[in-house]
Symmetry: C2
DNA sequence: AAAATCATAGCGAACGTTCGCTTTTTTATT
DNA sequence: AATAAAAAAGCGAACGTTCGCTATGATTTT
């Protein structure tokens, strides 16, 4: 029922999205042409418009399908830990694992910001809005042992801190990165944990 | 000697860079055409090539001239404070003031990442490399009262944490931002200060 | 047979750049 | 200070190419 064999057109559509995604990540939106997309997808110019009405519709399909919240929300929901510290640490580890698996998770948001001025972000949030209450319930239950930090601020700083690890990495060329010590993510996260945990000695290492 | 009146061509060149910068920030690099640039600069198509050899040369001039380190390095150098906590707090305030004044400071880096894959970043670091030793000397002198955090990691997490405030802001549409509580930057920074300060009660408020 | 899918060829518009040529500004010489 | 030569700056039109997109008709999938 769910896994009936894909109709022919759906396979092509998926190939178009795969090709477009890869090219957008490499070259950005305006730097990628429809001809590059169809060539990579193995079809011709005319064919693509049976599946998408325009180039921007392709971007929207890619953007809504592969935005980072698809990965972030489940991670925050599935993370476990007896104490708040353990929970945050587990969530951090899972999240960084996911971001390592898909380095493009954040890049797609940057493209949206740079080339569309974030015009599609409101629509993105409409789609993930239904999941937000459950998420905030999970976090509330876990946040007891943390410093008295408002939950929205906590969530925002948590996500932002993760983003920043990858952004600073992207902004540093290899030469500088080695000069900067090639910080491990665990060390990076540890600073944040000290920031949000109530007990000063709550960090497990050192 | 230094302030002899600008030659005519230099004024035009400055107008071109101003126009290009504004347009790149609004539309990205590939989303901006040479015709838009020359129109905004008040010249014609042929004229611009007396000053820049190509569109990419315009981008490089903009990028190297207005990248965020121009603002960040002086801030970290000029920040003051008797204790490490005071110093970091002062630096944080100055930096956020600078970032508020020029919201595009980070955006220009995103354009470079999205549309050039960071191809010009190595050249950027070559230009700012001479200033790095002085900076790290300043930070070393101030870092005594902090937790035992390697200096490169400290610098990276500090910058990253600032970036994250603006990135999460850009990624949240107004509706969600109000739902998230419209966090003040002071609260945001406070979390980070707790993370890097040795004494748990070192924060001055609360 | 009907519907969906695809290839071919081509549209007009916009792209970055270059071309001669004119005008303005700077420099050098009186 | 006036003048002539040189250099710099500006113009508008056109270049060849590529852009996103769309007719139309053939072919394949349901």
């Amino acid at each position: 029922m769910v896994d009936e064999p894909l109709r022919k057109g759906e396979q092509t559509q998926a190939r178009i999205l795969d090709a477009a995604f890869a090219l957008f990540m490499e070259q950005g939106y305006h730097g990628t042409s429809m001809r590059q997309i169809v060539e990579r997808a193995g079809i011709t110019m005319g064919g693509v418009y049976n599946h998408f009405a325009s180039k921007e519709e392709i971007w929207k399909a890619v953007f809504f399908e592969r935005h980072p919240y698809h990965a972030i929300l489940p991670v925050l929901r599935e993370a476990e830990g007896a104490t708040a510290a353990d929970y945050v640490r587990d969530a951090a580890r899972r999240l960084v694992g996911e971001l390592n698996k898909q380095q493009d998770l954040l890049h797609i948001m940057f493209i949206e910001l740079v080339e569309f001025n974030g015009a599609h972000i409101p629509q993105l949030y409409e789609r993930i809005a239904p999941q937000l209450p459950q998420l905030s319930a999970v976090l509330s239950a876990k946040a007891g042992a943390l410093r008295a930090i408002p939950l929205p601020l906590l969530a925002r700083s948590f996500l932002g801190y993760f983003f920043s690890f990858y952004i600073t990495e992207a902004l540093m060329p290899p030469a500088v990165r080695s000069l900067m010590g090639d910080a491990s993510f665990d060390d990076f996260v540890d600073i944040y944990l000290h920031g949000i945990l109530a007990a000063p000695g709550a960090g497990s290492e050192e």
